[in-house]
């Protein structure tokens, strides 16, 4: 194997693939990155049986071939190379890298022991890459991290014709986002559970092209796989084999009070007050017409803080407690200048949603039923007394 490639192009492809390498590989070959040169194409692949990643770049090949190289080392080297074309040559059991005046010789791993990557399932449809990245980020923030409850570590992806709904919950908050896409065939209906961390990472890094192709094999036979293909990059991830909670049943269908908040000012105030909230203690939000007072801390041997923030509030005054992290995560995910919170009681979930600016002068739309919008439910912390 022998090829020349632009330094930036190689470094980007290797860095992207290396992100999905397992930190502690179960077998040594899985720490490797597979380089396959064929004509003017180089593919850079990684796989750990859960997730596969494959990037393709343009190269000038003098000799086709494939070689398996220690992945993290290759990523560090390509990142540090000087800005010159790079030449890679397989020399027996080693890989030589030449770039400007720099020379490296790396040991290779036995390529014949490397598992073959799962084949990409058949395409299901196309999503706008920016919409997908935003939606996944908004929803994945609510996913659980506790591996003893695998179903809560996933993002539920539901396809109903030309609508996709993403949902995730760690049982303390629930994020839901809907958006439209272009399915290959009409009338498609499917629901899968994708590991949240993997999905978030993939969606974030597949935005170099305008579109992403979604592929799905949720076969009754064998294991389900979700494939995501962007420009020159494709990744697959194994689906979680678990039932997701019936989240639609807990969506509040009434709102007895609501507040419209300036997201930036309210977030800053909440962050300041939360500084004195020790682990497990809530941020108290006292909503009255025209303002909210945030408080945290309380007993004599703890710090105390309070701050007022102007908001529009409609309803009977209400005091509700939130885990500050859960509240701030939601505020950071609405992606609008103003957000709306709907309440039913201090013990029932509050619903946070974005406010579309043009429509604010009109009658306020009810966020719980507006299609395509983002909703973030937070279960409050019960306050003593």
């Amino acid at each position: 194997m022998k090829f020349r490639v632009a330094r930036e192009v190689l470094a980007d492809a290797v860095a992207w693939t290396a992100r999905s390498l397992p930190p502690r590989p179960s077998v040594p070959v899985l720490a490797g990155i597979l380089l396959e040169a064929d004509g003017s194409q180089l593919s850079v692949s990684g796989f750990d049986y859960e997730v596969s990643a494959r990037a393709e770049v343009d190269v000038q090949t003098t000799e086709n071939g494939r070689v398996l190289v220690p992945g993290r080392l290759l990523a560090e080297i390509t990142r540090a190379l000087p800005p010159h074309p790079v030449e890679l040559i397989a020399e027996g059991p080693r890989l030589a890298i030449a770039c400007g005046n720099a020379r490296f010789s790396l040991p290779t791993l036995p390529v014949e022991d490397y598992p073959s990557l799962p084949s990409m399932p058949s395409a299901a449809g196309i999503v706008d890459s920016d919409v997908f990245a935003e939606a996944v980020a908004q929803v994945a923030v609510a996913a659980g991290r506790d591996d003893t409850l695998p179903m809560l570590t996933g993002v539920r992806l539901e396809i109903e014709d030309d609508q996709i709904t993403l949902a995730a919950t760690d049982r303390y908050r629930l994020a839901v986002r809907e958006f439209s896409w272009r399915p290959e065939t009409s009338g498609l209906s499917a629901a899968v559970l994708v590991p949240a961390r993997t999905l978030a990472e993939a969606a974030k890094t597949l935005t170099s092209g305008p579109e992403i192709t979604l592929s799905l094999s949720s076969g009754s036979s064998g294991e389900g796989i979700l494939g995501l293909s962007g420009k020159d990059r494709q990744t697959t991830t194994r689906l979680l084999d678990a039932e997701f909670v019936k989240y639609r049943a807990i969506m509040p269908n009434e709102s007895l009070a609501n507040a419209t908040l300036p997201v930036g000012l309210f977030t800053d105030a909440a962050k300041r007050v939360a500084l004195v909230a020790e682990r497990g203690t809530p941020l108290r939000c006292e909503f009255t017409p025209g303002q909210v007072t945030l408080r945290a801390g309380g007993s004599d041997d703890e710090g105390q803080a309070e701050e007022r923030c102007d908001v529009d509030f409609d309803g009977d005054p209400l005091t509700i407690g939130f885990n500050p992290t859960f509240l701030l995560d939601g505020l950071a995910a609405v992606h609008t200048d103003r957000a709306r919170m709907d309440f039913t009681s201090p013990l029932k979930p509050a619903v946070l949603s974005g406010v579309d600016e043009p429509s604010t002068d009109d009658e306020k739309p009810a966020p719980a039923t507006r299609p395509g919008s983002y909703r973030y439910l937070i279960m409050p912390v019960r306050l003593p007394g």
């Binding site: 497990g280 013990l347 439910l377």
Partner: protein, 447 residues
């Protein structure tokens, strides 16, 4: 170390066995072993009469049976009775001082300096110790304790051990080293078999030998923290305070079963009912907790706990039960459990609500319903005699109160006596005698 002997240590003598001998007059003066009576059980407590034959706590019951003569009583534990007696003793200690630190069911420290107007001279505390012992014996129906009084927790504990049983030793301030130095090093807390062996190899067998070693030597031998600790203990240096533990740190509930349970479905229902009690107690006190613990005592008396810390504090019985069930499954129930407990600790005044708490309720109920018919199928019917275990309190509608002496061949042998009666007669009954039923521990106060 204080200038006055103002720390008292009380250690009740062969406590479980003493309670058995109080409640079972025919066993007074005879060897009694309390512990796991099954094939691979472990001795929890041996009476002094049994210790004379070599029975010791933590020894296998089989070994104790080999050592003790026939006629020795081997009894399963009656923890409700022990707890009730212990509560009486701890209350007497609290009359001496608000600073009482229970170490276990039969052991506690008292800070006499914090009590109301005690004479802390050597003669004053000696008289106090003598009166305490009298009051304990009177209030418990004859259970005795050994009292040690000294200028530190270390000295008080050493002293209570010097003249067991029914002892009273006051180590006068200034006399600590005189008492301590002749003792074997193994009497110091923290010197187990491994450390003792290492010390023996460098010629240390008594505390005096240990005091002759330099600090660097001991650090090299036992590590920094442990070495420094040994160095201080050998000089009777001990500043640990008596810490009363009255703040609520956990809420728990446990049950001792009449017979060892193995069936996960049955145990799961026990967990559900205990989790409901724990959750309700948390709610009524407005607490929630992050750490769920299950406690298991196996058929052989080994006791283990397993816990899991949740991401958020909870008071939800379903979440407590689900976590406890998982912990129980991981710990395993092979051989059978005689005690099961569920607790929640890491308490806070706030409870993070659960979005799906209400939603799951109907689902769980639906799942539980078919279970209800299960015990007959799931838990094979035990031989009738297995309803009874040695030492168990029983009541016969015609013959009165007594305790189970033995069982087998479809029969159960009961001795009809109680703490306030003389030794009573033994009767052999059919194990399924409808007039015989399990009973609560008897009262030891007359009338």
């Amino acid at each position: 170390m204080r200038r006055e002997a103002s720390i008292l240590h009380l250690d009740l003598d062969a406590f479980f066995a003493a309670v058995e001998q109080r409640d079972k007059p025919s066993l007074r003066g005879r060897p009694v072993v309390v512990g796991g009576v099954g094939g691979r059980g472990v001795v929890a407590t041996a009476s002094y009469e049994a210790r004379a034959y070599g029975a010791r706590s933590a020894m296998s019951t089989a070994e104790a049976r080999r050592r003790c003569p026939s006629g020795t009583a081997f009894l399963g534990g009656r923890f409700a009775a022990y707890r009730r007696t212990s509560d009486v003793v701890m209350e007497l200690l609290r009359e001496l001082s608000p600073l009482v630190e229970p170490v276990s069911i039969d052991e506690a420290y008292v800070d006499l300096a914090a009590g109301p107007g005690h004479d802390l001279s050597v003669s004053g505390v000696t008289e106090l110790g003598r009166r305490l012992k009298e009051r304990i014996a009177a209030a418990t129906g004859g259970v005795t304790g050994s009292v040690g009084i000294g200028s530190s927790k270390l000295m008080a504990k050493i002293a209570s051990d010097l003249d067991k049983p029914d002892g009273l030793v006051v180590v006068p301030p200034g006399g600590e080293l005189e008492v301590l130095h002749p003792l074997p090093v193994t009497r110091l807390g923290g010197v187990g078999p491994a450390t003792a062996e290492r010390l023996r190899q460098v010629g240390v067998s008594t505390v005096a030998d240990l005091a002759a070693k330099s600090l660097p030597d001991l650090v090299a031998l036992a590590g920094r923290a442990h070495g420094a600790g040994l160095y201080a203990l050998a000089r009777a240096e001990d500043d640990r305070a008596v810490v009363p533990d009255r703040e609520v740190k956990s809420v728990s509930h446990e049950e001792t079963f009449e017979r060892d349970l193995t069936d996960l479905a049955v145990l799961g229902r026990e967990i559900d009912s205990m989790a409901t009690r724990v959750g309700n107690r948390l709610r009524s006190s407005a607490y929630s907790g992050r750490t769920v613990t299950v406690k298991l005592r196996r058929y052989d008396f080994t006791t283990i706990t397993r816990s899991q810390t949740l991401p958020q504090p909870t008071d939800d019985p379903r979440l407590i039960a689900a976590t406890a069930r998982r912990l129980l499954t991981e710990a395993g129930t092979s051989g059978g459990l005689r005690l099961l407990g569920v607790g929640v600790s890491g308490l806070s005044l706030y409870a993070q609500g659960d979005l799906f708490a209400d939603d799951e309720e109907p689902a769980e109920d639906a799942g539980a319903a078919p279970d209800a018919a299960e015990p007959a199928a799931g838990q094979p019917e035990l031989p009738v005699e297995k309803r009874w275990w040695p030492g168990q309190d029983v009541r016969h509608q015609e013959l009165g109160s007594g305790w189970v002496w033995g069982r087998g061949l479809g029969r159960v042998t009961v001795r009809f006596e109680g703490p306030t009666t003389p030794p009573g007669p033994v009767r052999t009954l059919a194990a399924d005698d409808p007039l015989l039923e399990p009973a609560d521990p008897p009262s030891w106060t007359p009338g």
